[in-house]
């Protein structure tokens, strides 16, 4: 996933490769600084704190409200409380949220047929917010709809379903009835996959696979309200003004791990104010939370005067510099390594707000991620951790590469922080002998612009946030041969990197997921280090998220998967 509000279509071409294997990673616990209050949904707590309105703020709405279309963290956080799939990520704090638990399915089945067949038994008696009952037919309808509405991850995640290739080619006539077999009598659904996929449960757990009732229009719902089975349901959406969620009248809690009942009666999400105004509102108690990071010059104030209302949590994400390996000067490995040596990651951390808000990193997998073993060759005194830039080494590498004096443009989004990072990188490039300039373009087009090879982007500043906790989501998605599509706006391998040996290793790790998960993790570790050595990108840091809450908000629970869990918070 790219960012908060920018929908991103993962390259369709990734599909075949991602579908080809599986990771089956262990849900290990990354280091987080969550301060979860007792996430208890006991009757006593519910009686004490039930009611009230949780008031959320954001600069802008997140786009379509269709859960199968929207691909933003802004709304995925909401879908956690309004939609359900067959399985879901556990409603728990910290890395416990990476555990997949049964949701509308009674249990998580064991795959058969070598990992290609998955049979789910549905729970009975669950209703959507519009009063309709959940049936096995909804599962088939939902997965056909994924292709009919062009879900951004249709190719990336769900093309592994047998027959999905035809749906990708002709979505309007998508028919998956042979590969998603519905049995209304036994209330079960059986998926037949084209290849084993150990990430299949992860893909079923994300909101794009949340069930919708038969008859939901097979087009983007846009601002229309989707029915759901969660504790809350959407009751109003005006993208220019606000989004309102209220209790789902048909909701009865069936699993606290999957879909817990919420404390507040109503959740409002208001759009359109500046971040400064939002922070002031929260300080004054007229709002409860903002999606936005507080402005740099308010951080000290928040950290001192409002420390008890601030929560800082590590995100599984990278800020990094993709370097185009097909364009000079970064078609030279030494030049790419030089950039890695030269970048002062502490300086980058300062731009983001200091060491409490980011951790320096120089490898592809972020801190706390499965398979990550600390590794940093690009530092003074190379070892596990980055310590300081090595400018002398960087200058020597630039000379050795024969790229001294080359013109380099750093393409950045023109918001305050990204631009500051770009200016810093430009300064670093100049200091090691390049003639660098900064090209700041609108944040609305930046992410697609830097993906398209026609734009001849040499180096850029960007971020990547995990969709789900699997090493492939960083290594294979960002640097796999199959995710490089010259001339396309959806070529998320911005470096254009394709090393056949490493790519084969990634495919091997993907296929080992079901049979040998531990072995797969070890191989991913090796791949991460090999990829870092090749330096198609320079990772700068892993960011931390700062949540600033109003005084009245209690029971802040931060999930590593979906961040703040709104249904767990109370306001009275």
């Amino acid at each position: 996933m790219r960012h908060y509000r920018i929908p991103v279509a993962i390259a369709v071409g990734l599909a075949t490769a991602l579908a080809a294997g599986a990771t089956g990673v262990a849900k290990t616990t990354p280091a987080v600084s969550a301060k979860p209050a007792a996430a208890d949904t006991s009757a006593k707590l519910m009686a004490e704190h039930r009611g009230g309105t949780l008031k959320l703020l954001a600069k802008a709405a997140g786009g379509s409200l269709d859960p199968q279309v929207n691909y933003t963290l802004e709304y995925w956080q909401l879908y956690r409380a309004t939609q359900d799939g067959l399985v879901t990520f556990k409603a728990a704090g910290g890395d416990a949220a990476f555990e997949i638990v049964p949701d509308l399915a009674v249990a998580i089945p064991k795959p058969t047929d070598g990992g290609k067949t998955w049979k789910f038994q549905l729970r009975k008696g669950i209703k959507y917010s519009n009063g309709e009952s959940v049936t096995p037919k909804d599962v088939l309808y939902t997965f056909e709809r994924i292709f009919k509405v062009h879900t951004p991850t249709a190719g990336g995640f769900y093309s592994v379903i047998k027959g999905a290739d035809k749906c990708l080619k002709t979505p309007a006539t998508c028919d998956l009835s042979k590969s998603i077999v519905v049995d209304s009598k036994t209330n079960s659904v059986t998926f037949h996959l084209a290849q084993p996929d150990a990430e299949w449960l992860d893909k079923l757990a994300v909101p794009h696979a949340a069930l919708l009732p038969v008859g939901t229009p097979n087009k983007d719902l846009g601002t229309k309200l989707p029915p759901g089975t969660g504790a809350y349901t959407f009751t109003k959406y005006d993208p220019n003004h606000e989004l309102i969620m209220e209790r789902n009248p048909h909701f009865k809690q069936w699993s606290a791990d999957a879909q817990p009942d919420g404390y507040v009666d109503k959740i409002t999400y208001s759009f359109g104010q500046t971040v400064e105004a939002q922070i002031t509102q929260i300080q004054n108690g007229t709002a409860d939370w903002t999606l936005e990071s507080p402005p740099a010059d308010r951080l000290n104030e928040l950290g001192t005067k409002y420390a008890s209302q601030v929560h800082i949590n590590t995100q599984l994400a990278n800020w990094y510099l993709p370097m185009n390996v097909n364009l000079a000067p970064f078609n030279n490995k030494l030049a790419r390594q030089a950039v890695n040596y030269a970048v002062d990651r502490n300086a980058a951390v300062r731009i983001l707000g200091g060491p409490k808000l980011a951790i320096p990193s120089c490898q592809v997998l972020p801190a706390g991620f499965p398979a990550r073993v600390d590794y940093c060759p690009y530092t003074k005194n190379p070892g596990a951790k980055w310590s300081a830039p090595d400018l002398e080494k960087a200058k020597a590498l630039v000379k050795q590469s024969g790229t001294l004096g080359a013109k380099v443009a750093v393409t950045v989004a023109n918001d305050e922080v990204n631009k500051a990072m770009g200016v810093y990188v430009q300064s670093v490039l100049n200091s090691i002998g390049y003639k660098a300039s900064v090209k700041a373009i609108s944040g609305n087009i930046h992410f697609t612009y830097i993906q398209n090879t026609n734009n001849k982007v040499q180096i850029s500043v960007t971020q990547w946030y995990q969709d789900y906790p699997a090493p492939s989501d960083f290594l294979y998605v960002l640097l796999g041969c199959e995710s490089f599509h010259p001339g396309s706006d959806t070529s998320v391998n911005m470096a254009g990197f394709c090393n056949k040996k490493i790519n084969n290793d990634m495919k091997k790790a993907l296929s080992m997921g079901i049979s040998d998960p531990e072995g797969a993790l070890k191989l991913w570790t090796k791949i991460d280090h090999a990829m870092t050595d090749e330096a198609p990108l320079a990772v700068l840091l892993n960011p931390r998220q700062i949540n600033f809450l109003s005084k009245r908000v209690g029971n802040f629970v931060w999930s590593s998967q979906y961040y703040m869990m709104f249904s767990k918070a109370w306001v009275q």
Partner: protein, 348 residues
């Protein structure tokens, strides 16, 4: 030397003998103390900005275009970091140092990259002034050519040129500038053998000059239409003068005063436009600075380091004030109606 003779008993009308209109205008301008003060102020600003390199190298000893996130400076005789990490409470945030009021060490403090604001202010002024002056010159040049052609030849030529100006002017100025800038900054501009990179200062110069051409051209065209009907033009036509001779020898000298009046005003307007575009990140591109980009840099520091935004704001205000007052003075000096005012002033 020319002399001024005031007829005895005719105090109301000063008669000027033997002076060219330009000399008269110059004399009137020199007698306008407010305009002179504005000109002096503008010159001081220009000279200060031209001394940016000297200030950065020899006085402040800083590099205004390189990040200095790990840099240090001297405050009260002690070495201090330029970017100060918060140590109170949760230890959130990194704040650049504020004004030291020491001309050798971060006089106006540092920006979010740890760069010397005072040095950047002077370098930024260079770019702001360059863009404003160059775009005003280009704008006035193109506007004059178009106005002369349209007004003198009339007919279909006038229709085409005037309607084209109307179309350009129909777009809100900033919307047009933002649209063109956004496209140009994404790919640069390439016309035939001429290629302008996205970071070229020529981009804002050209964009700003083009969008204001109708603003200057339309009143000049009106004057051309009026002058073209004058007797001395008819006389020249009767003597067989060519069109080009008529335009450059008869019409142009009679409208050029309007262009001269417009020029300082256009510098002021263009400076504000450039600042606005740069503030929106679609003017001068980083790490180059202009007063607009420095205000944008300071926007995120308004709570803790307001001087980063206030200083360039003051410079823009001062420069535009000087140019507007100077523009008024030039208009008073060149506008024939101003003679009456000046006459009345001289009688007091």
């Amino acid at each position: 030397m020319a002399e001024v003779v005031a007829a005895a008993g005719d105090v109301g009308t000063a008669r000027v003998v033997g002076r060219s209109p330009w000399a008269l205008a110059g004399r009137r301008l020199l007698r306008n103390r407010v305009a002179l003060a504005a000109l002096t102020g503008f010159c001081v600003i220009v000279v200060s900005c031209l001394a940016a390199g000297w200030y950065a190298d020899s006085v402040a000893h800083t590099h205004p275009f390189e990040s200095s996130l790990d840099g240090t400076t001297i405050i009260d005789g002690k070495e201090s970091p330029v970017m100060v990490e918060s140590t109170g409470g949760l230890g959130l945030g990194v704040t650049p140092i504020g004004p030291t009021w020491d001309i050798h060490h971060y006089f106006l403090g540092a920006d979010d990259q740890g760069r010397d604001v005072a040095a950047r202010l002077l370098y930024g002024g260079r770019n702001s002034l360059l863009i404003a002056l160059a775009s005003a010159a280009l704008c006035c040049f193109f506007a004059t050519i178009i106005a002369l052609t349209a007004g003198f030849f009339g007919g279909i030529v006038d229709q085409i040129l005037s309607r084209t100006l109307d179309v350009i002017w129909a777009f809100p100025v900033f919307l047009a500038a933002i649209s063109i800038s956004t496209v140009a900054l994404t790919r640069g501009i390439s016309v035939g053998p001429v290629t302008l990179s996205a970071s070229s200062l020529w981009l804002p110069i050209l964009i700003i000059s083009v969008i204001y051409v109708p603003y200057v051209a339309r009143p000049i065209r009106g004057q051309v239409l009026s002058v073209r009907e004058k007797e001395f033009v008819e006389a020249s036509i009767g003597l067989g003068a060519s069109n080009w001779r008529l335009i450059f020898s008869e019409v142009l000298p009679n409208v050029v005063t309007t262009v001269i009046v417009f020029f300082p005003l256009m510098i002021a307007i263009n400076m504000l436009t450039e600042s606005a575009l740069s503030f929106l990140s679609i003017g001068v591109q980083p790490p180059d600075a202009s007063w607009g980009t420095i205000i944008a840099d300071g926007q995120g520091l308004l709570y803790t380091r307001p001087w980063v935004a206030i200083a360039p704001g003051l410079m823009i205000a001062a420069t535009v004030l000087c140019l507007n007052v100077l523009g008024d003075g030039v208009r008073d000096a060149l506008d024939p109606r101003a003679r009456l005012r000046m006459g009345r002033m001289s009688r007091r």
